[in-house]
Each structure stands twice: as C-alpha cells, then as structure tokens.
Subunit: 371 residues, 4 copies
Amino acid sequence: MAGSTFGTLFRVTSWGESHGKALGVVVDGCPAGLPLSEDDIQKYLDRRKPGQSRFTTARSEGDRAEILSGVFEGKTTGTPISILVRNQDQHSKDYSNIADIYRPGHADLGFDRKYGLRDYRGGGRSSGRETIGRVAAGAIACRILERKGIRVTAYTKAIGPVSCDPGRFDSAYLKESTLGMPDREAEEQAQAYLNRCMEEKDSAGGIVECVITGMPQGIGEPVFDKLDALLGQAMFSIGAVKGVEIGAGFGAAAMRGSENNDQYAYPDAAGKDACMYGRDVRPVKTTNHAGGILGGMSDGSDVLIRVAFKPTPSIARPQTALAADGSIREIEIRGRHDPVIVPRAVVVVECMAAITVLDLLMRDLPSRLDW
Amino acid sequence: MAGSTFGTLFRVTSWGESHGKALGVVVDGCPAGLPLSEDDIQKYLDRRKPGQSRFTTARSEGDRAEILSGVFEGKTTGTPISILVRNQDQHSKDYSNIADIYRPGHADLGFDRKYGLRDYRGGGRSSGRETIGRVAAGAIACRILERKGIRVTAYTKAIGPVSCDPGRFDSAYLKESTLGMPDREAEEQAQAYLNRCMEEKDSAGGIVECVITGMPQGIGEPVFDKLDALLGQAMFSIGAVKGVEIGAGFGAAAMRGSENNDQYAYPDAAGKDACMYGRDVRPVKTTNHAGGILGGMSDGSDVLIRVAFKPTPSIARPQTALAADGSIREIEIRGRHDPVIVPRAVVVVECMAAITVLDLLMRDLPSRLDW
Amino acid sequence: MAGSTFGTLFRVTSWGESHGKALGVVVDGCPAGLPLSEDDIQKYLDRRKPGQSRFTTARSEGDRAEILSGVFEGKTTGTPISILVRNQDQHSKDYSNIADIYRPGHADLGFDRKYGLRDYRGGGRSSGRETIGRVAAGAIACRILERKGIRVTAYTKAIGPVSCDPGRFDSAYLKESTLGMPDREAEEQAQAYLNRCMEEKDSAGGIVECVITGMPQGIGEPVFDKLDALLGQAMFSIGAVKGVEIGAGFGAAAMRGSENNDQYAYPDAAGKDACMYGRDVRPVKTTNHAGGILGGMSDGSDVLIRVAFKPTPSIARPQTALAADGSIREIEIRGRHDPVIVPRAVVVVECMAAITVLDLLMRDLPSRLDW
Amino acid sequence: MAGSTFGTLFRVTSWGESHGKALGVVVDGCPAGLPLSEDDIQKYLDRRKPGQSRFTTARSEGDRAEILSGVFEGKTTGTPISILVRNQDQHSKDYSNIADIYRPGHADLGFDRKYGLRDYRGGGRSSGRETIGRVAAGAIACRILERKGIRVTAYTKAIGPVSCDPGRFDSAYLKESTLGMPDREAEEQAQAYLNRCMEEKDSAGGIVECVITGMPQGIGEPVFDKLDALLGQAMFSIGAVKGVEIGAGFGAAAMRGSENNDQYAYPDAAGKDACMYGRDVRPVKTTNHAGGILGGMSDGSDVLIRVAFKPTPSIARPQTALAADGSIREIEIRGRHDPVIVPRAVVVVECMAAITVLDLLMRDLPSRLDW
C-alpha cells in the first residue's frame, strides 16, 4: 500500500489514472519565493505530449496544467503545490474487450491479483499518462536546479538496434529532432526502423541517456540513499524500464581496475573550468567511467545515467493472452498506441533525475552547516 | 544526512566502519516466534568472509555475529534485533600514507567534501565490510521467505570477460565453486583471468545474477515503490555496483514488442506446478523477458536480476591520484585487497534482494485483507 | 520542508490554502473494493461546515467534494484517491489590511520567518479550512474502521468554563446539539457563555473528547510509533490544540499506583460482551484510567482521548500586534470568525483519530500473520 | 511493525530489552566534526541512573556507554553513531512468577496479543531501561543545540499532589535536588508524600516541565510535522506518559481569546535581549500562553512543555490481575521498583525534546536557503 510518494524533503505525491477524471501531483517542500507559473509547468508537459510525430499516438491529450495551491502572487510560498491535469478524449470503449484479459507485457494481472479488481480502461495507474504528475513536479525541480547551476539533459540514445554515435553528437540538432536523438544520421535510421515496426504492427524499445552537469561534490546519502541508489529507484519506477546504468555500467564489469579507475587531472593542468560550490574545488577527470558517482556520492564530474526501455507492449499484431477465467485467448490490441515510447520518455527521465537530485541536495544541507 | 535505514515495515539500519570498533545492524519489524540463533546469521556471514580462496583478501576477518536483543528463548519476540560484529585485525597503519589522498575509484573525495573530514582508515563506511550488517539482516529475511516458499539464489554470472553459459548451468557445482560460478568450465577460465590480473597487479569486475523463485503475484507498490524500483535502489546501494537489469534488461531495448512480450501458457497445458498464494493461480510463461515483474509488481514468474560490479578500485599498480592539497601524486595502493569482489558480493545481492522482497510482502498485506 | 503527509501504509497528503483556488487531499493506501461515493465524503465535510448555528462563521463554504481518482464503478481500486474542494466566497480584501501585521495568536510571524513571505489572505495553510483534506480522508478511514467494528466518536466536552457532566451524558441529544455537546443542560450554559463572548467581541476555547470503541488489542508500534504517540502527533497537528490527554491524563499524575492501575474483571464475571479479534479475548476493566492504551498498545478497552483547543485568536476587540517593520500597532480583526471553533473541530478530531488507528491497524498486520 | 526509529534527518533507532544482553541506539545524521566522547554520553546516562536516592530503585545499573562507530579521533564523522550499554545485574528470576500474568498498568497483555509471545522478564521493551538509547542520542542532540544557543531544561514540576510554586523557582537548588524539583519547600513535601507511598507499598505519579530557550523562529513543518505535533509524539512515546501540554495547555481551553492571545512587546521597549538567528528579530511577548508555538512553528519565545506521568504500575501491594489462561489472580509484584519514576524521567523528556527540535532544525534548512 501507499507507494505513490517519492522524496524526503522535496516530496512528490503522484495520483490519477489514464481514464479517470484527472491526474496530478502534490509537490511538498518546494522552497518559497520561486517565480512559478502554469506556463513553466506546461513547457515540460508539452514535451511528453503525444501527437508530435507519426511515431507517437494520435490521441490528442490536451494536458493543460492548473496550479491549485502553493503559489501566491506568482511566487511559491513554501506550502504544498497541487497541480491538476484533467483527462479528456478518453475512448474508454476501446478497452471494454480487454476487461477480462491480461494483456502480455502489461500490469493487468498484477493489479487483479493485488487488489482483486482493476480499472481496466487502459493502463490505469500503469499508463504512460501517470508520468504527467512526475513531469509537472520535475519541471519545478529543474527550474530550481538550474538556478543553482545544475542542468539535467536527457536524449534518446538508441531506438531498437539503432544507436547514436557519440562522435556525431549534435546538441543543436537535438532541439529539432522528432525522436529526441542528437544524431541526425541515427535518427533517420531509427525512423526507417520504426516504419518497418509499424508496417508489421509491431513496436520498438530503446535507451535514454541522461547527463547532469554542474553537480556539487558529496551529494548522496550513504549507505542506502546513495545518489545512484535513489536514481536507480527513480528510473526503475518509470513504466517499461528494464535496465539502469551509471557511467560505464555493465561495461565496467568487463574492465580491469587499471582501466576503469578514472584518473584526475587538476583543473589548471587541464585548462578547464574549475567550478566552486561550498567546499568544492572541482577536479577534472580524464575519463568518467564512474559516471560522476563514487561511493554513492557525486564526485563533481557529470553524472551519467542510461535507462533501457522495453518495446511498447500494446501491439496490433495477434498475440495469445491469459484471461481472468484461466483460458488462453488470441487477442489483437486495438486503440492508439505509440510504436515506441522512448522519445516521450526523455523528459520523464530528466524530471525523475531532477527530483532525485534536488531532494538529495536538500538532505545534504545539514552536513554543510557548521554546527 | 541519515541514509542508513532501508525498508518500511521490515526496516534495516546499518552502522559501522571498516576500522572502527565494530559493525552491525538493527532489524526492526521481524515477526515474532521465528526460531533464530547466532549460527543462523553466521552461516550467511561466512559466505561473505574473505580468505576462502586465493582470489579473496588474506585478511582474517573473524566476523562472529552476536545477537544483543529481540530474541528470547531462541525465538524472535517482534522487537528490534540488534546484531554486532567486532572488528579485529585492523592494520590501520596500512592506510596512514593515504590520509590526504583521494584514491581513484574510491569515495574518499566525496566524504571529505560532504563532511569536511573522513575516517581515512580503509573505506570507512564505503568499505566492503559495511555489508556485514546487510548480510546479517538478510540472513533473517531469507529464513522468513523460505518459510513462505520464496527462495533467493544468486551466483557469479561473469568475471571480467568470462561469462557462465546458461546451457552449462550446474547448480550442484555452484555449491563447491570458489568463485560462486555454476559453470565449471567458465570458472576455470575466470581463474586463469584472475591469475593474470594478479600478476599484473590489477583487478577484475563481474556480474552477479539473482533469481527469486516462488514469488507470489502482485508484490510491489506502484508507482514509486515498485518491486523493480526498490530492487534497483537496493542493488545500487551496494558498493561498486554500476548497472542493474531486470529480465531481458538492456537487451529488451533492442527487441520488438512481439518478441519481448512474454506469452502465457496455462499451467495445465505446460504440465507444470501451479502454485497457490492467496488469489494466485500461477500461469506459466513461455519466456521471461519481463524478469517476473510487470508494472512494478511480481507476475508470479521467477524474478531475474543482474547486477554489474566494477573492478576493485584498490590496485597495487601505480596510479595518479588527487591529493587533498590539490596536487596530483603517483600512488601504489598497499594493503590486502580482493582482486575481484564479485564472489563475495553474491551473498550481499541475495540478502539485499531478500530484505526488499520481505518488506514489500509485508507492505502488500493490507491489500490482501478483506476490509 | 515537506510536512504535509501523515501515515505509513494509509497515507494522507493534505494541500491547499484558505484563499487559494482549492484545497484537497490525496489518500494513498486505501484498500480496494470499498464502495465509495462523493456523498460518503460530503456527509463528513458537512459536519465541519460553518453557518450551522449563530456560533459559527456566517461565511457560506459550499465545500463540495469531487473525487478525481482511485474510484472505478463506485468502488475504490487501491490506487491513490484524490479529493478536491474548490474555494468559493473568499473575501480576500478583508485581509489586505493585515498583510504586514502579525496577528496575535496566529502563525503569521512563523510563516514570514520560515519562508520570507506568506499568503496573508486569511490563515493560508494554518486556516481551519486546511482541515477539509483531513476530514475527507478521515471519512474514508471511518468507513473502513466501521466495517471492522471500530467506531470513533467525538463530542464537545467543554466550552470555556462549561463542562458536560458525565452523569448527564445523552448520546441521543448529541445528534441534535448545535454545539456537539451530549448534555443539554451544559449546552444551554455554553450558549449563554458564547453569547457573552460575542457581545464582548471575544472568543472561547474548549475541549473535545473522543472515544474509540471496538479496538482490537495490541495495536500500536513501540517504541516511537505507539498508539498514544501517533494520536498525540495527530491531535497536536490540528490547529489551536494546546493539550492532549489519554485516559486519566494529567489526573493520573496525582493518583497513587493502587488507584490508577485498572483492574481486570473477566468478561464472564462481569456478564459483559466478550469481543473477539484474532487472538483477542477481551477482558473487561473495572476502570479505564489507561484510556485503553498500555505500553503504547491498545488493551481492548475503549480508547479515550481529550483534546484542548485554545480560543479563536481572531477577535474583533482591539489588540496590540507586532508589524513586519517591528512597530507595535493596535488592530481590530475584521472578517467573519467563529467565536468558538470547538463544535466544528469535533469531526476533525474524529477523522484524525480514525486515520491514525487505521494506519496502525495496517502496520500491525505483519505481526498477526503466521510467518 | 518497525516503530523503533524516530526523526527524518537526525534519525534515532532504539533497540534492546531490560533483561537482554544489551540496549543501545543508532544515531544517523549527526553532523561531522562534533567533538564527542563516551563521557559526554555518560553524563546524561548518569542522570537517569537509579540508586541516587531512596526514592529510586536499589538496582545497580552500571550503564556504561560504549561508542562503536561514527567517531574518529574524537570527532564525529557524519556516519551513524552506534552506542551500546550492556545489561548487568538482571535478577531475571524475580519475574518468573509473572510469566503468565498480565500485570495491571503494564504492557504485558498488549505484547502477548500482538506477537503471540513476550519476553516476560521485566518490561522487556516497555521497561524504563529502554530510555537508555533515547538518553544517549539526546546527549548528542543537546550538545549540538547548545552550540547553536538552544538550551533544553526539564525539571520535576509535581509529584503526586505536590507542585512546585513558580514563585519559588530556584534554578540553583535544582542542581542539588534529589527529585529534580527547583523548589526546596515543594521537594520536602514531595519526599514526605513519597515516604507515605512507600510505607503503604504504593507509588506516585507526577509532572515534568520542559523549557527550550534560544529557539529560532519558524521551526516546525506544517501541517502534520508541526513542532508541537512532533513534540507530542516524542513525549507520548515515553512510557507512562498520559498527558502533554504546550504553553497554557488545558488551561487555554477555559480562557477567552482576549486573555489567551499573547501580546508582543518590541525588544527595545521591553529592554530585553533581542536574539538574532537568520531572519529573526526576536520580539518579546508579555505572556507566553502559546508556549512558544503558533501554527505549529516556533515564535521565538521559550517553548514550554508539560508532561504527565502516571504512577509506577509495579507496586508491592496486592492487586488482582488477568492471567493468560483467562483467570483472575491476586498478585504482589516483587522486585525493585521506583516508587516514582518522574525524577529519572526528567532527563528523558529533555532528550526527546532535544532530538525533536534538532531534527526539525535540520528539516527547516532548505527553507532558509536562497534557492
């Protein structure tokens, strides 16, 4: 019971189903005095909005954010910020035929077993729409982090078998990419791949990469609330995530110590930016296999996270499924579904990373004070 | 501050440094009436004990567990169980030469930045010895789970570039393997690889795989405390972990939906064991790419977790390191260090998985009751 | 930061200000399958509604509850229940003259010091209207408890110097009493007292008493989350509360042990109802100085709580107040204010008691299971 | 399950039974760099030690504190501090005759009902000895608060019917008083009263008052984690507490608003100490009925708490008690018991207040930062 709250000091409570009246979030612990408007939230929500390319669902999700509390005269007051997004355009009838079927790759069976019943209209709480609350909260977290010089940027690293080439990384192109890929060539291949998937009534997965720059050192609370541990929880809490890596990730497992250990080059030597934050003199590492985290605390380098998403489980292709009565049935899942969720998940990864980092920044404050 | 407690109802608080007087754990929320002796704990601690092969450190860590509370006349009483392990054989002098150096791949810099000082004798709180408390607590969790038919088993999947072959999986051999590998052939290759690493004063990483059988369905609390989310936190909270996968993991990102979606075969059809737990009739899946988790809840199949460990950062080979005064120095790390920590980490992965699952089983109880 | 969530398994998150767009609550951890409609919530909200007698504010607070999530086809689904109440009839201008004044007995100064700014329209987050979320959540908790035979009943024990006489306790009269007093004679005196307060532009305090019947034994989690400890937190979290007693309360401090110790009479001997709950055979106590709680756990007797409310701090009578610029000013507080909040606080006490008890019932479940 | 942890950032986990091997505490979240020795802890433990007068039990509880972790070279390191006190002189046989009896006023029945068994040797977890962990943790909290100019002082306000007279308050005498009373005359009467109790094989209760001076303004997290709410939880979590008041407490319920509202006098006008803390300019109030807390946040005045303790339930006088088999038996409780626990509870109240305030000070930090 009661798993819809995340964070200790910057605390986010998510609520709402895909086909209920509304979805939303309560953000408790937002500092006072922060300028905040509904537009600030909307910009982030628009990034996860469907219908932006032919590879995202044709449902029109208006998704207008309404701030109901915690903001007074354009500024946050320190009290809980409640944000509401009404559901519209719910073709609930599309789902009546699956009320008693457990769709492959979906949470249907789990909900039925856990609760004895479920809201069978769409994914309910495990729908991608649940991320609306996360993104609204993350928009606030991102704004606060940016004011402290911390920037969270995610992008599509791979779609199906097509990966961006680090050598072709193009941050300018990222802004116009419909798939959120910072590599024009890879994106074209990914589009071709997605077209084939769609023709074959199939779907694709992919990988989102997230970089956090400007991180102060020593953030993360050993031993259970380490920075990577809470990022791990945050990322795996996003639907469809099956793997998370920090820095070299699984690649580190095959390296030697002498290879994997990042060596430090002192800023002056490297002629790079020495950044200051409290006790920080930020050294430059010649590699970053650690992904900016050592012993569960930030080391001042960029934090690097990679998140693997499985292919959209809802496919129009015929599949066998378990029914509530125990029979096996052949089904074709109708409705409008993304052939790949990865491009829309980019902003969700960003937002969950921002929420995690901001909460840990706050939790770290007592250790910075001279008691 | 305050990151040393894990769990909501089965709550584990870890304390202690590698070179302090003692290490230990408080287990709060253990059910009453469970037969429990120090030997039950010791069996698990012995599995993480060093000195069992030439590939683990020669330090003799006696590591005798003492139960200080929560057990009366051989049974748990429901009150907190405090377990203590005294430190012995601390060659603290081995570390005096690194008091003002941030060793590559270690948490030294983070602690200094966060707290302004650190216990420089060994890893302190980020030492592998910190896992003693986790293993003592996990021993209790495993016992309770086993009584409910849930069994957690981990093993070394890979060391460096050498992987076990699923086709050669030999659970009988696993019991005698010095590297915790269930594949005799792979183990021989891994030993050869480790010998080369040691000759070259280097170290190796690897992968631990963990299987949980007998899981009831519907365990995990969407949306932030999903089973995979808390397993993610639990695994990344272990030192040296850089990646975590559930089921097909990063492989799922490259699959098509039609390929990744597991199909159900009804138990009778499969002629397999139909297991009962509350509302469960456990269906059999023809594949298990989901790794037993859908929508953050167990689906009744085996839960599959893979955890990537980086190579031991302490190597005798010369390295450059940042010193507290900002200079770059060449160092050779002396002392006794495992060339690979993976075999000793196997039981830690098991224990963290068990603690996570038991806590979520307890948190799930209110949803099973007919209110 | 982040103090707006209460409970571990039945978890309530409150949000909203008196003069913002709306107030509400997210109830996470409500069991599935419970029939629930907006009317069920409304009945409780109506009990705290003002304007029901001349002793409550003339503001018309419509306070219609809207359920936005967590209910499907009339039943709870186990997912978070979000409940919204729009604010109406906010005479915000009444407050502009106090924007830079710290009203005596109010939280104004605290908010300004804590956050550097505040929503000065009314009490903001410390307004009595904040209890709307608590009551909506408590309505759900009460329904669930009643299905388990646990009934929470509160009433006005005293207003100013006028106390109900236990010998005249009349539960039938309680239903029609405008002041929530179960003693017609005391109520008449209380009304006379309140009339004098109003004539003199003054206000009154009082005491609410709460009885929980049907409590199973052993509920409460020693040592910090004892039943009385969490009831203490719950009651003191209600605005204007200055004292809480369990059972004999402060009276126990003056008793002898031989007098205060409740003696047991076995049900049969007493010829009373022996109630069963799990392991319970409920004995009858000849007295109940313990107020149904021993060692932080319920003993099966009625739980007795008394809560002292200070007089409404907003009075029309001239007072001196500190201004933000450090000057002392004479003020008369305009606006519509209850001369006494106690009658409207009765349902709030009931609801907070119910939320606390239900959460502890859930937390107790693992100790009842045969592991 | 799992109720033995208190606090969010300064987090205290208590463990141990009266007749187990040891008792102790883990303090997680203590700032680094604080000078700390076992003597610092011992001074506080000695204040709760029995045998200091004829009114406390003759048991010799050596109670030597051992610090096992979190301190390096005489300073805290920011990692968890584990403190251990071995039990000695446990006359466990004194208790064998009550193994199957539920002593009046004790938690015996609750433990048996909750867990199905109990450690019947003394109070187990509900023994006064459990407070050893609280006092050890509180000793650390007090030291930190004192460095920030916050001082927590408690004393015996009343024993049985004998109360200290505020007009005779003598802080010098408090130091030598055996009953912790700051009023020599009242203490003499209290001693006479206790002598009578002892002659009659009976026991007495009493009231502890606690004053916190130097509190910054705005501490406390509305709405559920208000300063008074968490003090309420902290105080009611101490065994034998039946009532808690803040400021005027129950007396406020009988006051008029015009009387209860504290009026501000600006420091200069009052010629008193204007204290500075962050945004604070501390005004002086002409009364302090609020007890230093408004809207759940400190207002800069002294925080005033009063805590009612019931009489020691263990009395040698014959009583009837419920037995596990359902029979009613006459018992005389042997063993060595305090005729009044109040003098020894004084330091426990201080410590719980200090832990609560320090945790809330830390939680408040993000609201003080200019984000």
